[in-house]
Amino acid sequence: MGYLKEIGLYFMMLKGVFIKPTKTSVLRNLVLKEIDDLIIGSLGIVCFISFFVGGVVAIQTALNMDNPILPKSLIGFASRQSIILEFAPTFISIIMAGKVSSFITSSIGTMRVTEQIDALEVMGINSLNYLVFPKIIAMLFYPFVIAIAMFLGILGGYTAAVLGGFATGDQFIQGLQEDFVPFQLVYAFIKTFVFAILLATIPSYFGYYMKGGALEVGKASTTSFVWTSVFIILSNYLITQLLLS
């Protein structure tokens, strides 16, 4: 029953986000600030991880290709498939769940503890719209982050494959182009969009409805990371089942 209540409250929060909108000029600044905090602020870690994990994917593929009949272009093909289909959208989203969700939950939770949310309500401001809506809009730019992660992952794979002597540049690029199905990119970006909404709203829910003091803010951040990850994994499974099977 407790879980059902929480799910109900989550959807009520979503409804509350879209009513009684904040003044456009104020909202514009809030959205820009959130883009800076959530998107631009995450680019560094995303670029770093994408490049090196892309490299590891290429090396692992090359080292597991014992059979000499297998063409070297397979390294590029396998890297592309694993990076576009799973690594960039899902793996990066789990990392973002750690970075972004704890930031969102702790910042909103601290505002709850220090009565700043009450102050907004007393002024007649819809605090859900003021706090959560800009985060949702900012996270709509998340697919750009994933696009960068895809590019850098493949670049990392190319660099590792060529510098490590596992394949030539031409072989790797040939592999990238083999059997390319454009719908796989559409699938990757559809799930990225869903993850973006989850990344913005689940941590906001845990921050907004938290009760207690500083200790509870920390606990809420951890819980928020766990549940955001769980819902990303579950929705990944569902979307894959729906779109690819």
């Binding site: 601290t110 009565e115 102050a119 309500e121 002024m123 007649g124 401001i125």
Partner: protein, 256 residues
């Protein structure tokens, strides 16, 4: 003026937190709500602020019942309310000046220069010096309270609510904050309601005092009459501190 008529508030269970409170808070006066912890002060204040919907009864703001107003009019009425929170509740990502300009930014069409001018007027009024560009974390508790008061009055509110405005402050700063609130109340003819359990505040600025006990209005009067209150709960509350016990003994001695 705020009139409260037979206000009852519960949260779903059988027990009511507020059990039929009727009183009037007058314009241009500092009205204090006092009582022990758990007496229903905070719930009462939140009902007055419109954050809690009354289970029964009415709250009239200059004759208008909040619950009977359209959402647009409720919003207009809320814009006429200022609130000073116990912990100041300043937005910690904004500077002092931005905090004070915030209600103007949200509810007026003023340009930035006009907003800044008005903010500086109230900054001067609450005696904040050289703090405009500081963050709330960079100023003292007393200064934070001044910023909270400035933010609450920047929009020229008709009603000012304060929740324990001098908690956590040293006695001298607490008295300064009390006096500032009283001066502002008189100067701008605001209906001010202060939630407190500090007897020093009661004696400083208690022009009207409402004493709550277990959700009932047990007594109402002023700072002049509270020492003679014919109510055991009020007497126990007032004389719970040694200082006031001694004051009472001195008064009794003097009368003898």
């Amino acid at each position: 003026m705020i009139e409260v008529k037979e206000l009852k508030k519960g949260f779903g269970g059988d027990e009511l937190v507020l059990k039929g409170i009727s009183t009037t808070f007058e314009k241009g006066k500092t009205n204090l709500i006092i009582g022990q912890s758990g007496s229903g002060k905070t719930v009462f204040l939140k009902c007055l602020l419109g954050l809690f919907r009354p289970t029964e009864g009415k709250i009239l703001y200059d004759g208008q019942a909040y619950s009977e107003l359209s959402s647009e009019k409720q919003r207009t009425l809320r814009e006429q309310m200022g609130m000073v929170f116990q912990g100041s509740a300043l937005f910690d990502s904004m500077t002092v000046e931005e905090n004070i300009m915030f209600p103007l930014k949200m509810f007026t069409k003023q340009r930035k220069a006009e907003r800044r001018e008005r903010a500086n007027e109230v900054i001067k009024r609450v005696n904040l010096i050289n703090a405009n560009n500081k963050l709330p974390s960079e100023i003292s508790g007393g200064m934070q309270k001044r910023v909270a008061i400035a933010r609450a009055i920047v929009n020229n509110p008709k009603y000012l609510f304060c929740d324990e405005p001098n908690s956590g402050l040293d006695p001298r700063t607490a008295t300064l904050i009390d006096n500032l609130i009283q001066e502002i109340t008189h100067e701008y003819e605001i209906t001010t309601i202060i939630n407190t359990h500090d007897m020093n505040s009661v004696m400083e600025i208690g022009e009207k005092i409402v004493f709550l006990q277990k959700g009932h209005l047990a007594w109402e009067g002023s700072k002049e009459t509270i020492f003679k209150a014919d109510n055991d709960d009020v007497t126990n509350f007032v004389y719970s501190s040694d200082l006031f016990k001694k004051v009472r003994e001195a008064v009794i001695k003097e009368n003898q």
